[in-house]
Amino acid sequence: MSKKILELQNVSKIYGSLKALADINLSVNAGDWLSIMGPSGSGKTTMINIIGCMDTPSVGNVILDGVDISKENAASLTRIRRDKIGLIFQQFHLISYLTAVENVMVAQYYHSMPDEEEAMEALAKVGLKDRARHLPAQLSGGEQQRVCIARALINSPQILLGDEPTGNLDEENEGIVVDIFRRLHDEGVTIIIVTHDPEVGDVAQRKIILEHGKVVDDIDQSATFGESLKLRSQERN
């Protein structure tokens, strides 16, 4: 039985009269690959912000690695985010004046200490060792997203959190990124991805469908999990 890494207990997020999230209950085991899907305004981003310690719920508890983070202050959430969460963004958000390897080292710098050797290894993992000295402007969108993944992984987070990680990528690069997620999943990394793309949502082990701030479906895709990945891989080849 895998360890429970994340648990949302009756979580709601309320902005005035608007309930962005309404009484969400969700638990994620260590090593799970979860996709969160839903139309615009369904509360996906709010949910990922709360899981990623960038926001707090109005009501309910968020238990991350056994600790309730729902009442923590901003400084404490920053520390937890630094130690336990790896973030991947739709728009990559690389620092324009730092090279690929330096962008990875930034995450190390804020976490503990920068180590170029480790950063190079992380880039090698996403197939970008030879592009390490390039500035973001010299990299393609897919390469930038791979740098973003390497940066998210560098501090060995407990959860890899992606907000539309393939949203700005073409099909080929989307495939590369999904392959990286598969490898990371095989290594035991917990992955939570918010996506609009059904193909990306389908390759996850489990799919959560949100609508109007509520979980309307929680689909276990374990049975088709390996198959869909294989199919995607074949399609690409």
Partner: protein, 419 residues
Amino acid sequence: MESEELGVRSEELKTSSRHGSRKAFYVKMVSGSLIRRASRLIIAVLAIAIGATILSGLVTIYYDIPEQLGREFRSYGANLIVLPRGEAKITRETLSKLENLIGSAKIVGMAPYRYQTVKINEQPYIIAGTDLVQAEKNSPFWYIEGEWGNAQEPDSVMIGHEIAATLNLKLGDSFTVQGVKYGEQAQASGQNLSAIENQQRDLAQQNFHKNLKVRGIVSTGGAEEGFIFADIDMLDEVIGDTFRADVIECSVIADAKELAAISSQIEQNISELQPRAVRRLTQSQDIVLGKLQALVLLVTVVVLIITMISVYTTMMAMVAERRREIALKKALGAENKLVMSELLGEGVLLGFIGGALGVFLGFEFAQRVSLNVFGRAINFQWALIPLTIAVFIIITVAASIIPVRKVMDIHPAIVLKGE
């Protein structure tokens, strides 16, 4: 025990290496941001450099004005008159003492004067024996028709415009001065003597007579126009005496305060002399100087404020422009103070570059001002380099504090939201 110590030592080394590595990465981020975003920061560096240029230029001028203006005021004549105390006259030894005490660096001119009554065509006039070279330095404002006299041609003298008019003397004309030698008694002309006998008596041992030539005619609009100016050594020889001055006129580079200090030193160290500062000149100099310095100070303060506003707006724009980057850093786990320290580090570097540029441009600016206004070059003040850089680092950091504090208002979840 030994292995424990080694372990502790190794941990210490690791920690120190970690700090080194963090510091190195901090420097890399701060410098990388400035170097790789240079085109965006040129305006900020220029604003600081222009401010630093004006500041260092004005500070150079501010400290140079007293000397420059002092020199200008020296062209209005002597500002220190030194008289003998009591009945005694001033000897050459005392003159040397005075010169040493004031210091040659501060002396523009130091002219001893000996006044001697002479007769020209049986009319009394005063001949002022002086060091003509020094007198010229003291009184550059005198208008001389012809040339200044000198010690090489002592018989060619300068006469006041009033004397020239009275005696109808022109340049190159000769005239004879007569008088009683130093220490001798004058004899009244005997009415019962013939003209030849009177002439013989005038040529007698107790009297002198000397033929002089007009080399220059002095116009000042003042009392000088009623004097004959000749070389003091020639006068001493003619009257048969050694150097004995009635007064010394000094033109000294000093403001009223310094002049008072010099006067006090003279009184303490050379008891036979009595110094008198020419207040009219020193006070005017101080008033003009004070006003000029106040003006320079005011402009400097205004420039500093404008630079601060410029840096403030630039940093505001920079923080706004880099909201995503700041939000990302915070999303990656950077605390507010860490992100703020990076931005302030950039401010320090901007201040350093702008300040360093400004020091040298400022000197060039001050040099041009000095050459155009005072007609003299100024010396580079090396102390201005660290001073200007430090001031502009402080200004940049101070002007950056409010913009940099905006970092605290940036929420990663809002700024980094996907589209």
